[in-house]
Symmetry: C2
Subunit: 151 residues, 2 copies
């Protein structure tokens, strides 16, 4: 949960024998400039880049998202929509969690400092190297409670 720049990304990649490519740099930039509370799926990122004239293949998008999640740069979110979403994995005080309506997928972000502390302590206790720590609350939003729809 560090703040990355192109330079620090490059050195961390090179340390492991990997490379900084224009594609990887561009994708990191997109996430760094994303508005607060905005999450992107692979497909959404692909189309966003297309719109900016950046032709990065969908394969590379998928590979890069997975790589950056495994490095702890991005967080992989399961927002009850059948595909993954990603956002920058930010440290305190930007670290936050998600409250999701399982019916309409409306998502609310919220903060709670003690959760990251719990996560850090738990990982440490077991000797795990922490990448991400997210509280996910599945619930039914007020609107969907009123609409008496079948599940």
């Amino acid at each position: 949960m560090t703040v990355y720049t192109a330079t620090s990304l490059k050195s961390e990649l090179n340390e492991r024998g990997w490379r900084l490519t224009p594609q990887r740099e561009t994708i990191l930039q997109v996430f760094q400039n994303l508005p607060k509370a905005k999450h992107l799926s692979a497909e959404e990122l692909y189309h966003l880049l297309q719109g900016e004239g950046e032709n990065i293949s969908l394969s590379t998008i998928y590979r890069t998202l997975k790589l950056m999640a495994r490095m702890g740069i991005l967080r992989e979110l399961e927002l009850a929509e059948g595909h993954k979403h990603y956002e920058l994995n930010q440290p305190y005080p930007h670290h936050h969690h998600h409250l999701i309506c399982v019916r309409c997928n409306k998502t609310i972000e919220f903060k709670n400092d003690s959760i990251l502390k719990t996560g850090t302590k738990t990982a440490q206790k077991e000797g795990y190297h922490l990448l991400d720590c997210q509280l996910t609350i599945h619930a039914v939003c007020p609107m969907c409670q009123r609409a008496l729809l079948p599940i």
Copy 2:
């Protein structure tokens, strides 16, 4: 997060105009008799039932898992394996969370009472009806840290 019996399941289903079927009752029983810290995927549940001579179709398995998750009977877990896992959604003091190695998928359960309190409070504050609340820690286990494998 209630403890369900066949009878309470039946009344809750009937309240909504739905039915208790032998398939649904059997599937609930499987989860109730599952050993601690055991999680099942749709496919695993299917084969477990086949082994017991219960021929419930894979479609029904998927439908039932989704139904019971939306009712709050089961929790849907994303254990970094490319498919969902399910377990009984148990109240305090059995409620727990997961620490997952993103490389080998080794999963450790841990408890922390304050998290459920945070989840309950957050949902209530926003007027959401709570179904489940899970802290997921993504990390790299000690063994996988030593094995210097490519991500």
